[in-house]
Symmetry: C2
Subunit: 303 residues, 2 copies
């Protein structure tokens, strides 16, 4: 049995202060609340607006969270970048701090690149980081990155770096792709996290090790609850409850919607700030979202 990270992880949303700078205090508070609700910290991910942050800002956030008493064994920060030097710096910093793993995008500027080119990107990253303890999770999110991590690429990387290539987050949104990954790799010491709790029960039944999902930022305890009780009679009901919340958020741009809900619950309007190219939800969008969540008896317990 591997002692690798598993369970539910949140791609922690990134708060900004009145000057538009990363708000480290609010960030660490939100991390603490998430951990208290049983989920791990996949901070600096897509839903963290990580690619809207400079390298210096990302390093400051790592430093802020690593200097708390929060356990790095529950952390899988995003460390991808279009350029290798930046990806190396972030990956090395996270690994040396003891993070359970890193979640790493392929280089996403150039499109229609070769499998060989992507292989070399990841291979050079692993070689340049040069840490035996590195556990790299491939980040497959073709709807956003527009660059695929194909199954043959996974195979090749896993063969070359069986200790470092630890798994994948599959945010293809395509269950048949997740299923193909599970079928081929679940017994290869390669861990598969669907990129949404919509696939949590189905995923766990087919060998997934948890999920890494945007809405774990706002609904952590309930998602964690299904993860813990997926063998129980209530599992289908728990999944249906998660789906109702998830689909409510999916009616809006996910990041501004989650931040609006956190701002609302904390009575802290500053939490709704996003960086361009995102914009905050309009007042009418917010009202409609909060009303629907009320109908679902949803709240951010104890935040």
């Amino acid at each position: 049995m591997s002692n690798r990270i598993r369970g539910v992880l949140a791609p922690v949303v990134t708060p900004f202060d009145e000057q538009g700078k990363v708000d480290l205090r609010r960030f660490v508070e939100h991390c603490r609340w998430l951990v208290a609700n049983g989920v791990g910290l996949a901070f600096l991910g897509t839903n963290s607006e990580a690619n809207s942050l400079s390298l210096a800002e990302r390093l400051l956030m790592m430093e802020a969270v690593f200097s708390t008493d929060l356990d790095t064994a529950a952390m899988m920060p995003g460390t991808g970048a279009c350029d290798l030097p930046t990806a190396v710096t972030l990956t090395k910093t996270a690994t040396q701090a003891g993070c359970a793993g890193v979640l790493t995008l392929p280089p996403f500027y150039y499109k229609a690149v070769t499998e060989e080119g992507l292989y070399r990107f990841y291979a050079e990253l692993i070689e340049q980081v040069g840490e035996e303890s590195l556990r790299l999770y491939l980040y497959h999110i073709p709807p956003v990155a527009q660059v695929e991590i194909s199954i043959p690429l996974v195979e090749r990387l896993l063969k070359a770096y069986p200790n470092q290539i630890a798994g994948i987050k599959d945010s293809s949104g395509n269950w048949s792709h997740t299923q193909a990954l599970l079928k081929q790799f679940q017994n290869e010491n390669f861990d598969i996290f669907p990129g949404s709790e919509s696939f949590l029960l189905k995923g766990l039944r087919n060998g997934a090790v948890g999920c890494i999902s945007a809405t774990a930022n706002v609904n952590p305890a309930a998602i964690r609850n299904l993860y813990q009780h997926w063998h129980s009679d209530r599992a289908e009901d728990l999944q249906a409850g998660l789906d109702a919340i998830r689909t409510t958020f999916e009616r809006y741009p996910m990041i501004p919607a989650m931040k609006a809900v956190i701002a609302h619950w904390l009575k802290d309007p500053q939490w709704s700030a996003v960086r361009p190219p995102f914009i905050t939800l309009s007042n009418s969008e917010q009202r409609a979202l909060f009303a629907r969540l009320n109908e679902l008896s949803f709240n951010l317990a104890g935040h």
Copy 2:
């Protein structure tokens, strides 16, 4: 009449040394050869692998070229990034060095973002740079960035920042889009550069001010020649000559192909190095490319 930059610009390819680091000596030499052949320097662009370079590397390249006697009035470096702080740093550095302009991608990680979000990105960039002398050229390259700069967005930015928003490079590859831009904006103190010399003659006849094109890295004098003689009887022939070279390069991944040709002509194999996700051309691809260029009597005169 505006005294803005016009003519042919090359998105200068970036050489790497044996250790994979940016080779500043080879870079400056190539810049000098390009300028001697009559083209301006749109370094740090797509064909420069700029998004495969860290911020620190991009700043080193700016410093290297700004510290030569090359005229910044012929320079339009790329300063785009997914994150505002990086785009601000690059744009400010180039503007304060006296560059004729900067060529700035929209934030390209998140897809299907709103016009308002993109407007705010550019508006905040201009405000945060805070330089009256900034001349920002929007970089429209949807086949790669997968983010559109729509005509209504151009209109809005131009209205808000008539001095700073100076023009656009249109690498849509779609002549009807370039034509729509020319029709609407050519008398609005807004300069349009097609993103390929394939549209140079057609562009100049319809009000474009030049072009910014990959192959200007290897075929600068001939492209410049058409720019200077587009009123002449020979213009169609000159365009046909450019097209024959361009389509030869287009059979291969453009960046590795151009670097292979430079390496071949300079008898300097190190020039063919690229960063992942690119890979160098295979030997057989190189042989076929060189043979075809020979048939076309193509050479890199005086490099």
